[in-house]
Symmetry: C2
Subunit: 265 residues, 2 copies
DNA sequence: CAGTGGTCTAGACCACATG
DNA sequence: ATGTGGTCTAGACCACTGG
């Protein structure tokens, strides 16, 4: 955890272009962004306080905050109230095969993959879930939320919904190894298949932001994946949320020979 | 084009919660957002100036601008310098089948679909395009940029790249009906197939922002689609850019029986 | 407690688009 | 020429987090 102040002083050294050519806050943001990308500012590094940084760059705190806000929106920095501003470890675009299990689809051989089960509870199906699962709104479902991290940086929050009618022993089967595939197998479902993937953009809810360590309303990518048993019944509705710039989803037409035996996320 | 000021007065009427419960600028943004969603503020409506709005809501212009900035980021409003602030016609999530031709995948029977060819020119393949097309960087390519709009709201900017070696008569074949499928057919390629779709998030470049009528650096969705001829050669690299909240891409495993005869976007 | 980020104000100057 | 949005300043108060 080295001191970042000397570097910032070098960033602030070159004079800024006369105002109104390019806004000062953008020029500041550009320089900080470049430093984060090329490695002069490493992941998890802590920046000086806003007052100090404003002093360093020779602007008001308000102007400094504009630059910092932009960099937060782009996922380069992340502020924590009462604590400080930190460089977000740059995932810089995992390319991952959606439809495969998380760790397999991820093209990072040396990375440390983390998985945490956040909640596992019974609930009533919401309208969209119910339609996808071919059950009635309000029917009993199991809801499982999990968080995946790469090198301790959270990159994927998933909220899976399962119909209780099809998987009555979910909790017991999941307990042993925290594996959804185990649950399916315990209910006589040996394999399953991705039948639809939807991708959309949006803005993080408070809950999503907290889990992914983002500010609320940050832009995110959302995926909805529907998995079906061999007999065609939809058995899983999976809503995934990703920081906007964390990932590049790769979707190739399914090769039937390798369909479905993985613990897909 | 009705006057929006009376409505804003009603929005500003209820007192704001004591400060520090929820920031005033968020409360203002919430009320405006709600009005845009439920139709009290219609698409393309022009709002009063920032000074006037600040007066209406009883805050400083700076605070007013924070609320407006948030709504712009979310794609609800769009400011034009020297002109005014306008309600963005709410596409509110087209659900469209990627892999089909644009108009077919779009689930809006009554909508007016627009298509504009922006540029058509020869260029040298960039690194990523070259890799995807299995040619060398710098090889001659045809680059075609088009813009699609729904009810006059631009929702999709596509930049297609084709290898000149495979499609030497591109311009001539395209001229007649501005159809890429025609170009393929003129070169003896009767059908083609989507072999890969990639989806990622990012922030609009200046060019993308201008074409889509967004502010620069607004969050966007990007798609990369690779199409191949029946013999397996990649014949099209298509980079698409969408306003973040404009669309929900639906990707279903390809049904071989209906693969490839469309003028896919 | 001290330091941090989050919010808000009052007033100013500028570049731009339109009439 | 006017009104628009875009930028910037100086100073203030608050809530949160940590030691």
């Amino acid at each position: 955890m080295t001191d970042t102040e000397p570097l910032l002083l070098t960033l602030a050294a070159p004079a800024f272009d006369a105002r109104s050519l390019r806004p000062i806050w953008k020029q500041i943001a550009d320089r900080l962004h470049a430093a984060c990308v090329d490695g002069r500012l490493l992941g998890d590094a802590r920046l000086p306080g806003e007052n100090r940084m404003a002093e360093i760059f020779g602007v008001t705190r308000v102007t400094m905050r504009r630059a910092l806000a932009r960099l937060q929106q782009e996922g380069v920095l992340q502020a924590r109230k009462g604590v400080g501003i930190f460089v977000r470890p740059m995932p810089l675009r995992y390319r991952l095969d959606h439809g495969n299990r998380f760790a397999d689809g991820l093209n990072l051989p040396g990375a440390k993959i983390g998985a945490t089960t956040l909640t596992l509870e019974r609930a009533q199906a919401e309208a969209e879930e119910a339609e996808a699962l071919h059950i009635a709104p309000g029917d009993a479902v199991v809801r499982l939320t999990r968080l995946r991290a790469v090198d301790d940086a959270p990159v994927y929050l998933s909220r899976k919904t399962f119909p209780v009618a099809t998987l009555p022993e979910f909790e017991a089967a999941y307990a042993a190894r925290s594996s959804v595939r185990d649950v399916f197998q315990a209910h006589g479902i040996a394999s399953y298949q991705r039948v639809q993937t939807r991708v959309s953009g949006g803005f993080a809810s408070d809950a999503e932001a907290a889990a992914l360590r983002l500010s609320p309303r940050m832009p995110v990518l959302r995926t909805v994946a529907l998995n079906a048993a061999p007999d065609g019944r939809i058995i899983e509705y999976n809503l995934g949320t990703w920081p906007l710039t964390a990932v590049e989803l790769v979707l190739t037409p399914l090769d039937p020979s390798q369909t479905g035996h993985s613990d897909a996320d």
